[in-house]
C-alpha cells in the first residue's frame, strides 16, 4: 500500500492554495519549520439551536502526520469572548455530523504536534486506505482528504477544487 510522502503533501498543499486563492476560499500555507508546513483557515461559524443563535470562529489546520504518512485534520472553535469550546461542547452542539455513539472514534483531543496546545483531531474512517486507493487517480490528495472530512464538519468544499 503506497502512502503519501511529505513531499507529496507539500506539493498537493501548494497546488491546493492556488485553487483556494482563485475561489477566495481563505486557506493559507504556513511554513512553520523546514519540515513542519501546514494549511490553515480561520472562518466564522453560525451556530443555531432553535431560537438560540451564536457566532463562533473555527481554526482549521491540515498538517502531515509522519507516523501514519497521511494528512491530518485538526481544529479548534471559540466564542466571541475567546473561550475555546470543549470536546463535550463540540459533541452536544452536533458541529460534527455523526451520531453521538460514533463520535469519540472520529474526534479526539490531543496536544497538537506543531502548536503544542490542545486541538481536536478528526480521524475520518480508514483515511490511509482510502487515500492509498485514490492516490494515483486523485489530482490533489488534499482535496480528496478534505472530501472525507468536510461532510463531517459541514464545511462546504467549493466545486473549483475538483476542476
Amino acid at each position: 500500500m503506497s502512502s503519501v510522502t511529505y513531499t507529496d503533501f507539500i506539493e498537493a498543499a501548494k497546488n491546493f492554495i492556488e485553487i483556494s486563492n482563485r475561489c477566495c476560499d481563505g486557506w493559507k500555507f504556513i511554513e512553520h519549520d523546514k519540515d513542519k508546513c501546514y494549511l490553515r483557515k480561520e472562518t466564522f461559524l453560525n451556530y443555531k439551536n432553535g431560537d438560540y443563535e451564536r457566532l463562533l470562529k473555527a481554526d482549521y489546520v491540515i498538517f502531515y502526520k509522519e507516523s501514519y504518512c497521511v494528512p491530518s485534520f485538526s481544529f479548534n472553535v471559540w466564542n466571541s469572548a475567546g473561550m475555546l469550546l470543549s470536546l463535550d461542547d463540540i459533541r452536544t452542539m452536533s458541529l460534527i455530523s455523526i451520531n453521538k455513539k460514533d463520535f469519540y472514534s472520529v474526534v479526539t483531543q490531543q496536544e497538537h504536534p506543531i502548536f503544542q496546545r490542545p486541538y481536536f483531531i478528526i480521524h475520518p474512517c480508514h483515511t490511509e486506505s482510502v487515500l492509498a486507493a485514490f492516490k494515483d487517480k486523485s489530482k490533489n490528495i488534499i482535496v480528496t482528504f478534505l472530501g472525507l472530512v468536510c461532510p463531517l464538519l459541514n464545511i462546504n468544499l467549493p466545486l473549483e477544487y475538483g476542476m
Binding site: W78, G82, M83, Y104, R117, P118
Partner: protein
C-alpha cells in the same frame, strides 16, 4: 409606492459586535506579567473589521493587536484604539462608564475639529476596551466601546438600494480598480463622483480643503460619500455615524439636504456588487456634537449595558491544563479501545497505601497513571540515602537533614507530579503480633491503632505494601471487618506475590469445589494462603522477610500488577465479588461470561518468578481458621476490641490458640509421627 420611497425614518446604525481571539488574552497576560506588572496602563492597540458581505458587523482583536503595526489582511480595515486595563475588579466596576465615554468622546472630537481626518480618514474610526485581568484564575473582564456622538440625528429616506441600481458593471469595475490603488488609510472613507457615465474615485482631501473654513461646491446629485461598511444587512454600519458628524461639522451648510451614501461591501472575489446606497436626509437644525453626549458601550450577551467575562482557565491555567491532559490519557483509552471503561470510578476511589517504600512508590505512580487522585500513605520511616534509587517518589533532597518523613515526602512529591492530586501522608507505626508492647509505648500504640483504623475506614481500597508478614496482620483484620478492597503485594529476592483479599460474609456458605471459579467474597487472604499451603518451598518462605534485598525489577512489576488488578476489579460489574478462575490458562472462549469484566477476568493471586520469567495465578478459598480473616477472629475483635489486639501483639501464640490452629498443628505433627511409624514397620 412613491410615498414609501419618500418615507423617512431615523437612521438605525448597526452596532459592532466584539469578537476576541484567544491569543488576545495570551498576549495581554504576557504584557501584564512581563512589562506592565503593577502599573495601570492605557495602551494603544489595533482592532479590525471586515466589509465582506457574508460576515456581519463584527469587530475583532487578537494577539497581533498589541503589535506596533497591524498585520494587513484582505478585505479588512484596521482601527486604532485604546485599552485601559484596571488592576482591581473594584476599580473596574466603580469607574464611571458614562463620563469615561464622554471624556474619550471629547478627545476624539477635539481631534476631529482640527480636520486631520480629511487627510487621514482612518482617524474617524476609534474603539476602546476597559478591562480587568484576574491572572490567578485566568478570568478576563472586558467591555468594548465604539465611541460615536449621539448627535446629529439624521434620517434615512426610504429603504437602502442595491448599488447596481445606480452603477452599471463598467462603473463598478472602475470603482474596484480605483479602490485598489487607494492608500490603505484612504480606503475607509472616500468620495465617488458620477458625471454622465464617468465614474471617478476621489480621496477626501481631493474634495475637501482642510484650510477652508467654509463649504464645498459639491453637486450632491452626482456625489456619493463612501464608507467601508461592516454591516451586511439593510441598515448601515457604525462607522457612518462619526463620518456624518465630521462632515456636518466641516460643512454645516449641508443641513436640509439629502446625501447619497454608499455602504461599501465586498464579495469574496473582491467586487462591490453587494454594496448598498443610502439616502440620508439631514435635518434643518443640526444639533452640535458638544450639546449631547457620546454613545457606544457594547451590550453584553444578555442585551444589557454591562461587561463580559472570558473565563480562560480551562485553556490557560497550567494546573487545569495538567489535570485535564492527564485525564485525557484515560479518556483516549476509553474512546479508542475500551468503550465500556468507566473513567470516573478511578477518580472517585480513595486509596490507602500502607508502606511508602519500594512497593508504595511504584503503586502510587501507577495509580496516578490510571487516573486515581486520592492517595494516602502510611509509613513510620524517614527517607534514607539508599532509598531514592529504588523508591521512585523520593529524590536526593529528601534524604538531607536526617531525612524527611517518607509518608509526607511521598505525598508532597506526588503533588509535584500532578498538582491536583489529593495526597496525604500519615506517620504511624503498625503494631505486629508477637512483638510485645511495653507500657511506655502503650499510649502511642493505641494512638497508632486508632489512626490506622480511621484511615482504613475513610478509604475504599487498602494496599498492603509492608516489608514484613507480621505488619500485615492488623490492617488485614481491620480492612476485613470494614469490608474494604485489599490488594496485597509481597517481595522476595527474585519473586513476588500480588493478590486480592476476599471480604467477610455473613453466611456460613462455602464455595463448592467443583465450579470453575470462586466468587470474590470467598477468596482467601494473605494469611489463609500461608496456612493452606503448608510446607512451602524455601523460595516462598523468603517472601516478605524484613529488609529483604530484592532484584529491583520485582518491585516495579509487583507494583504495576497490584494497580492493574485493582482497576480490573473496579471495572468488573461485581467489583470485589468478582470471581476468580481456578485455571487462568483457559482460552477466551472457555471463560464463562459472568467471570469477565470490562478488562477481562480478575485472578485471585499472581506469583511471579524472575529467575525463570514465569508467572502463575493460583486461586484458593478462605480458610475457616485463618488468623486474620476468619469469623472467629473478626468476631473476637468486634467484641473485645483493643484488648484483643493487645493480647495478640503481646503473645506469639495467642492467635493460633484463638483460631484453633495450635490444635491443627498438633494433629498434623501427630499424623506425621504416625505415618513414619507405619513406614518403619
Amino acid at each position: 409606492m412613491l410615498e414609501a420611497q419618500n418615507q423617512t425614518e431615523i437612521i438605525q446604525y448597526v452596532p459592532f459586535s466584539s469578537f476576541v481571539h484567544p491569543s488576545f488574552w495570551h498576549t495581554l497576560t504576557e504584557m501584564k506579567l512581563e512589562v506592565d506588572k503593577l502599573k495601570e496602563t492605557t495602551k494603544q492597540i489595533f482592532g479590525r473589521f471586515t466589509y465582506r458581505c457574508d460576515i456581519g458587523s463584527v469587530f475583532e482583536v487578537d494577539g497581533t493587536s498589541f503589535n506596533k503595526t497591524p498585520h494587513l489582511e484582505q478585505q479588512y480595515h484596521h482601527v486604532m484604539g485604546t485599552i485601559m486595563n484596571k488592576n482591581t475588579i473594584e476599580d473596574f466596576k466603580s469607574i464611571d462608564k458614562a463620563s469615561l465615554l464622554n471624556s474619550i468622546g471629547e478627545m476624539i472630537w477635539s481631534n476631529l475639529r482640527e480636520r486631520t481626518w480629511i487627510t487621514n480618514p482612518s482617524a474617524l474610526l476609534n474603539f476602546f476596551i476597559l478591562s480587568f485581568a484576574d491572572l490567578k484564575k485566568f478570568h478576563y473582564y472586558y467591555w468594548f466601546a465604539f465611541p460615536a456622538p449621539s448627535q446629529p440625528t439624521v434620517h434615512m429616506k426610504g429603504r437602502s438600494t442595491k448599488i447596481s441600481d445606480y452603477f452599471n458593471n463598467k462603473q463598478l469595475e472602475t470603482l474596484s480598480q480605483c479602490y485598489k490603488s487607494l492608500e490603505e488609510n484612504q480606503k475607509n472613507f472616500f468620495v465617488v463622483i458620477k458625471k454622465n457615465d464617468d465614474l471617478s474615485v476621489k480621496k477626501l482631501s481631493e474634495v475637501f480643503d482642510v484650510n477652508s473654513a467654509n463649504c464645498i461646491d459639491l453637486d450632491l446629485v452626482s456625489t456619493y460619500f463612501v464608507f467601508a461598511d461592516p454591516s451586511n444587512g439593510c441598515n448601515p454600519g457604525w462607522p457612518l455615524r462619526t463620518f456624518l458628524a465630521a462632515l456636518l461639522e466641516y460643512c454645516p451648510d449641508l443641513a436640509k439636504s439629502t446625501l447619497q451614501v454608499i455602504g461599501l461591501r465586498s464579495s469574496m472575489n473582491g467586487d462591490f456588487i453587494k454594496s448598498l446606497v443610502f439616502s440620508i436626509e439631514i435635518p434643518q437644525d443640526i444639533k452640535p456634537v458638544e450639546s449631547a453626549g457620546w454613545v457606544g458601550w457594547e451590550r453584553n450577551d444578555k442585551g444589557n449595558f454591562g461587561p463580559r467575562l472570558a473565563n480562560m482557565s480551562t485553556s490557560m491555567d497550567p494546573v487545569i491544563l495538567a489535570d485535564t491532559s492527564s485525564d485525557l490519557n484515560i479518556k483516549l483509552m476509553k474512546w479508542r479501545l475500551v468503550p465500556d471503561l468507566n473513567v470516573g470510578v478511578m477518580k472517585d476511589t480513595k486509596c490507602l497505601l500502607l508502606g511508602a517504600g519500594t512497593l508504595g512508590c511504584h503503586v502510587a505512580r501507577n495509580l496516578l497513571a490510571w487516573g486515581f487522585r486520592h492517595i494516602t500513605f502510611v509509613d513510620n520511616g524517614k527517607v534514607s540515602y539508599s532509598n531514592p534509587t529504588r523508591q521512585v517518589l523520593f529524590n536526593y533532597q529528601d534524604c538531607l537533614g536526617g531525612g524527611r518523613r517518607k509518608a509526607e515526602a511521598a505525598a508532597d512529591n506526588l503533588k509535584s507530579i500532578l498538582p491536583t492530586t489529593n495526597s496525604k501522608g500519615i506517620v504511624a507505626h503498625i503494631p505486629m503480633p508477637g512483638h510485645p508492647i511495653g507500657d511506655s509505648l502503650k499510649e502511642e500504640t493505641i494512638g497508632d491503632i486508632k489512626r490506622i483504623t480511621e484511615a482504613i475506614s475513610e478509604h475504599d481500597v487498602v494496599f498492603l505494601l509492608l516489608d514484613t508478614r507480621e505488619a500485615r496482620w492488623l490492617p488485614t483484620l481491620i480492612a476485613a471487618q470494614h469490608r474494604k478492597i485489599v490488594i496485597n503485594a509481597a517481595l522476595g529476592f527474585d519473586s513476588y506475590l500480588v493478590m486480592r483479599h476476599g471480604i467477610s460474609t455473613s453466611s456460613d456458605e462455602v464455595a463448592t469445589l467443583d465450579k470453575q471459579y470462586i466468587e470474590g467474597r470467598y477468596l482467601g487472604c494473605y494469611f489463609c494462603n500461608d496456612v493452606t499451603a503448608p510446607g512451602n518451598s524455601l523460595r516462598d518462605r523468603t517472601l516478605d522477610q524484613q529488609c529483604t534485598v530484592t532484584r529491583p525489577g520485582v518491585a516495579a512489576v509487583a507494583g504495576a500488577l497490584s494497580v492493574e488488578i485493582l482497576v480490573a476489579l473496579l471495572q468488573h460489574p461485581k467489583r470485589v465479588d468478582a470471581p476468580a478462575l481456578y485455571n487462568f490458562n483457559k482460552t477466551e472462549q472457555e471463560i464463562p461470561s459472568q467471570i469477565e469484566g470490562v478488562l477481562g477476568a480478575v485472578p485471585h493471586s499472581i506469583r511471579g518468578f524472575l529467575h525463570s520469567y514465569q508467572t502463575i495465578a493460583p486461586t484458593c478459598t478462605k480458610f475457616k481458621q485463618c488468623i486474620a480473616c476468619s469469623d472467629t477472629v473478626i468476631n473476637k475483635y468486634r467484641e473485645e476490641g483493643l484488648d484483643f489486639l493487645l493480647n495478640v501483639f503481646n503473645s506469639g501464640s495467642y492467635l493460633e490458640e484463638v483460631t484453633g490452629l495450635s490444635a491443627l498443628h498438633l494433629s498434623a505433627e501427630m499424623s506425621e509421627i504416625l505415618t513414619l511409624t507405619d513406614e518403619e514397620d
